[in-house]
Amino acid sequence: MSLVRYLARRLAQGALIVFLVSALIFTLLRVVPGDPVRLMAGGMAPEALIEEIAADMGLRDPIYVQFGRYVAGILQGDLGQSFVRPANGAAVGGASFDDSTRGERAKVWSLIANSAPMTLQLALLAMIFALVIALPIGVWGGLRPGAWPDRFALYISSVFVSLPNFWLGIVLALLLSVKLQLVPAIGYNGFAYTILPAFVLAIEIAPFIIRTLTVSVAGVMSQSFIDIAAVRGLTRNQIVFRHVMKNSAVPLLNLLGVQFSMLLGGVLVIEFIFDYPGLGLLTINAVMQRDFPLIQGIAIVTAAAFVLINIVVDLAATTIDPRLEY
C-alpha cells in the first residue's frame, strides 16, 4: 500500500473517530441535568429571559439539529463561544441576571489555542524526564533478567506507580520550591515553572516505560541473532546499542504514543495542583463551571490529537521495523 493511500485511510478513520466522539459528548452534555442558559444568563434570570435566550440560540431545537449546526461550525473552524468566560480568559461567575453587560464571551478555539502550547510544553518535558529516568533502569533490567538490576527495575517501578501524583506534587513543591528554593512551583511565569510538574508526571509515566523496556529488551536478548552477533565479533555495546535497542523500540514507541496522547488530553490533577494554565486546568474549570462548549471543544481537539499521534507512531514504527506493513 502506498504512503498516500495509507495516510488517507488512517485520516479517514481518524475523522470518523473524532466525529463519533463529538456526537457522543454533544449528546451527553445535553441530556445531563442543568440548563446551560442559566449559566449564561446568571443566577437571578427569570424563566422568560432564559427561554428567550435559549430560543435565540437554538438550544430548544432537537439535538440532531443542534449537532448539525455545531458540526457545520467546526468545519469552518468555529468551535463556538464559552458560556462563562469573557474574552480575557478569566474564570468568572456571580453576576446578576439582568446584567447584559458582562464582557464578550471568549472563543473556545482561542481558549484552547492559548492553553494547548502550555500543555504541549509540559508533556514534552515530562516525556524527556521520563525517558531519562526509565531508559537506563529499563535497559539494565532487561539485560540482566532475573538478576538484581531486573528486580531493582521492578521495585522502583512499583514505588513510582504507588505514589499518588497529587501527594508527590505537594511534597516536591514543599521540598524543592519552599525549602530549597530551587524551582518555582505555582502558576506560570516562564519555562522554569514547567520543571516541577513535568518531573511529577515523569515519575508517574516512568514505571510503564521501565516495565516495557525490561520485558522487550529481555525478549530481544533471548533471540538467536543476538548470540550470533557475538560470534560475528560484535562487542556487547555494539550488540546492545545497534541491535537490542532498535528491536526493543517498537513496543516502547507505541507506549510513548499512548502516554503522550494522554498527557495532551489534559493532566488534570497536576495542572490543578500547580495552577499550571494548560488544557488540564482549563478542562477542570470548564467541567466545574458546566461550560459545555468548552468541554466539547477540548474533547474534539484532544481526540484529534490522539488520532494524529497514533498515525505518527505507526509510521515511525514501520520505519524502525521494515517488517511491519502499512
Binding site: 504512503l3 442559566r38 449559566l39 446568571g42 443566577g43 437571578m44 434570570a45 427569570p46 424563566e47 462563562v84 468566560r85 469573557p86 480575557n88 480568559g89 478569566a90 474564570a91 468568572v92 461567575g93 456571580g94 453576576a95 446578576s96 441576571f97 446584567d99 447584559s100 453587560t101 458582562r102 464582557g103 492559548n114 502550547p117 504541549l120 510544553q121 514534552l124 505537594i170 513543591a173 514543599l174 520550591s177 519552599v178 528554593q181 524551582v183 518555582p184 512551583a185 505555582i186 502558576g187 511565569n189 516562564g190 519555562f191 522554569a192 490543578f272 495542583i273 500547580f274 495552577d275 494554565p277 474549570n285 466545574m288 463551571q289 458546566r290 505518527v312 509510521l315 514501520t318 520505519t319
Partner: protein, 524 residues
C-alpha cells in the same frame, strides 16, 4: 516520497512549529530572582467578567476595587476604635439637618484616565448606583428617593426629603461606594464601565490576563505614588496551592486561610498572619419564596435543629460566635435574646405545627454550598446536613466549585436553585442595612427571596429614624428580633478573616471586609 523522507520532513516541520511555541524565558529570566516586583495577592474567589463596580456583589472584585478605586471615606472598623473614619476623597461630612448632608471634596485629585475628580462624579455615582437594576447599592433607597446637588466643584449636597429618611444614611455609604467617573457613567452599563476599572486609587488597572488582574502603581495618586510597582491579583481555586505559593515566596498575600493552614503558617518565620474579626457573617439562606421554607415555622424549626457550637468547633480560629444577623462590629449589633438556638424539642414542635410532624411530608431538600472559597464550608455543611436529617429534614448536600455555586447563589422568580444555600455577606462599612435591607427588604431580597410586609415596615422604620440612637433602638427592639422570629436566613457565626502575608511585606493594611490598602506598602 518514501516513508523515511516523509517522517524526516514532518519531524523538521514539527520542531519548527514547536520552537515558536516553546517559552524559553528560562534562559533569560530566572523566575525567583526579581528585584522590584508587584505585590502578588492570591484570591480564593473568581471575578464576574464585568468591571462595572455597581453590577456585582462579588468579594474578589471588591478587593480589586480596593486597590484601584477611590472612596469618599474609609472605615477601618478596628475593635479599639470602631467609629473611626478616614477621609479620602471627602474632607468633611456635615449633617446640615435631618435630611441634608453636605460633603466637601478633596481638590487636585485625578482619575487614572486623566480626568479631574470633582463633585459631578460623586453626584453621578450616587445616582447611577441607586438605579434599581444595579446590584450593589440597594440602600438607603433608589435614585427617586433623594436628590444630589453640586453648589460648586468640590461641594455635594444630598437631600433625602423625598425618601423620608435621614441624610445621615449617606455617611455610612461614603465608605462603601467606589466613586466612578462621570465620563464613564455617561457611557452607560454597556460602555467602558464593564470593560475596565477607572478610579482614583493608588493602583491603576492595566489588564485582565487569564485569571490575573494586573495593576500598576498610579504615579499621580493624591497621597503620593505607591512604593511598590504594582499589584497582581490572581484567582487560585485550591487552598493548598495558595499556601504553597505563599511559602515559596511566589505569593505575598493569600486570603481565607483554613484553620489547619493557620497552624502550619504560624510556624514559619518568614510569614505573618493577619487575623481580624470581620464585617462578614456566614449564613444558611432559606429560599423563602417556595415550599417548604416559605413557611416561617419550617425555617425556625430548621434553625433549632442546628447546633452552632459544633460549627464553631470546626471553624476553630476562622469563626467567632455571634447571635444576630450582622457582625458585632456593625452599627446596631446586640446579642438577641430570641435568636434560635439548638433545641430539638422546639424543632419537633414547630415541624408538627407546620404540618410536618417528625419531618413527614417534607419534600426532598437540596442544600447548596461551595468549596475552595470560604473555609470549612463542606465540613460544617455535612454537620448541618446530619443535624437536619436527625430531626427529619430530608436534606441532600450539594458541594460545588466556587464559580458554579456563584451562578446558583441568587434569588430568581420562582425561587433560587435548591432550598438552602451557604454564603457570607460583607461590606466595608459599619452600616447594617448593607446586609439587612439588601437581603430582607422585598425590593432587594438578594438570596433568600423573602417578601414580608412586616419586615419591610421594620426596615423602613429604622432607616427613617430621626437620629442614630433612635435608629439603634429600632434595630435592636423591632427589626432584629423580628428577623430572629421569621428567620429568612440563619446566621451561623461571624467570620474571622485570616490572611497569610510574607514577612517582608510592610505596611499593608487589611480592612475587616478583606480589602487592602497597599498605598504605603514596601517589600524588601
Amino acid at each position: 516520497m518514501d516513508r523515511r523522507t516523509f517522517l524526516r520532513n514532518s519531524a523538521m516541520a514539527g520542531l519548527g512549529v514547536g520552537a515558536v511555541q516553546l517559552n524559553t524565558s528560562l534562559l533569560v529570566g530566572p523566575a525567583m530572582a526579581q528585584a522590584s516586583r508587584p505585590l502578588v495577592f492570591l484570591s480564593a474567589e473568581n471575578i464576574t467578567g464585568n468591571w462595572d463596580p455597581m453590577a456585582h456583589t462579588t468579594l474578589s472584585q471588591f478587593n480589586i476595587e480596593g486597590f484601584v478605586m477611590g472612596f469618599l471615606t474609609r472605615a477601618p472598623m478596628m475593635p479599639e476604635n470602631p467609629d473611626e473614619v478616614v477621609y479620602e476623597l471627602a474632607t468633611e461630612l456635615n449633617l446640615l439637618d435631618a435630611t441634608h448632608l453636605e460633603i466637601k471634596l478633596r481638590e487636585g485629585v485625578t482619575f487614572h484616565d486623566g480626568e479631574p475628580f470633582s463633585a459631578k462624579d460623586v453626584k453621578a455615582t450616587f445616582e447611577y448606583g441607586a438605579q434599581p437594576e444595579r446590584a450593589r447599592q440597594v440602600y438607603p433607597g433608589f435614585a427617586d428617593t433623594f436628590e444630589v446637588t453640586t453648589p460648586d466643584d468640590y461641594t455635594v449636597i444630598v437631600d433625602t426629603t423625598k425618601g423620608g429618611y435621614g441624610a445621615a444614611m449617606f455617611i455610612f455609604l461614603a465608605s462603601y461606594l467606589p466613586i466612578l467617573s462621570t465620563k464613564d457613567i455617561a457611557g452607560g452599563p454597556q460602555g467602558v464601565l464593564n470593560q475596565r476599572l477607572n478610579g482614583t486609587g493608588p493602583f491603576k488597572f492595566v489588564e485582565q490576563r487569564g485569571n490575573d488582574t494586573v495593576m500598576e502603581a498610579f504615579p499621580d495618586y493624591f497621597r503620593g505614588a505607591p512604593q511598590i510597582p504594582g499589584v497582581t491579583f490572581s484567582y487560585v481555586g485550591d487552598a493548598t496551592t495558595r499556601m504553597l505559593s505563599l511559602m515559596n515566596g511566589q505569593a505575598d498575600v493569600i486570603e481565607r486561610l483554613e484553620p489547619e493552614q493557620v497552624d502550619t503558617l504560624s510556624k514559619q518565620d518568614d510569614i505573618v498572619l493577619n487575623r481580624a474579626v470581620s464585617v462578614e457573617n456566614k449564613y444558611l439562606w432559606f429560599r423563602c419564596s417556595k415550599p417548604p421554607f416559605d413557611n416561617p415555622l419550617v425555617r425556625k424549626a430548621a434553625a433549632h435543629a442546628i447546633d452552632r457550637s459544633l460549627i464553631l468547633e470546626i471553624m476553630g480560629t476562622a469563626g467567632e460566635p455571634s447571635s444576630n444577623f450582622v457582625s458585632p462590629i456593625k452599627f446596631g449589633y446586640a446579642d438577641l435574646d430570641n435568636y434560635p438556638e439548638y433545641d430539638p424539642e422546639e424543632c419537633q414542635r414547630l415541624l408538627a405545627e407546620a404540618g410536618y410532624p417528625g419531618g413527614d411530608g417534607l419534600p426532598d431538600l437540596e442544600y447548596i454550598t461551595s468549596t475552595g472559597f470560604y473555609p470549612k464550608t463542606k465540613e460544617y455543611g455535612e454537620v448541618i446536613t446530619a443535624l437536619l436529617q436527625e430531626q427529619g429534614f430530608p436534606v441532600t448536600l450539594n458541594v460545588m466549585e466556587t464559580a458554579a455555586w456563584n451562578e446558583r447563589l441568587y434569588d430568581r422568580p420562582g425561587g433560587g436553585p435548591g432550598h438552602m444555600i451557604d454564603c457570607g455577606w460583607t461590606s466595608a462599612s459599619p452600616e447594617p442595612d448593607l446586609v439587612l435591607r439588601t437581603h430582607f427588604h422585598s425590593t432587594s431580597k438578594r438570596i433568600c427571596g423573602i417578601e414580608d410586609a412586616e419586615i419591610d415596615a421594620a426596615l423602613d422604620e429604622e432607616r427613617d429614624a430621626p437620629d442614630l440612637e433612635a435608629r439603634r433602638e429600632s434595630l435592636q427592639t423591632n427589626l432584629m428580633p423580628m428577623l430572629a422570629d421569621k428567620v429568612p436566613a440563619y446566621s451561623l457565626f461571624t467570620s474571622v478573616l485570616m490572611h497569610g502575608v510574607r514577612a517582608d511585606v510592610q505596611d499593608l493594611f487589611i480592612y475587616p471586609d478583606g480589602t487592602a490598602d497597599a498605598s504605603r506598602t514596601t517589600m524588601s
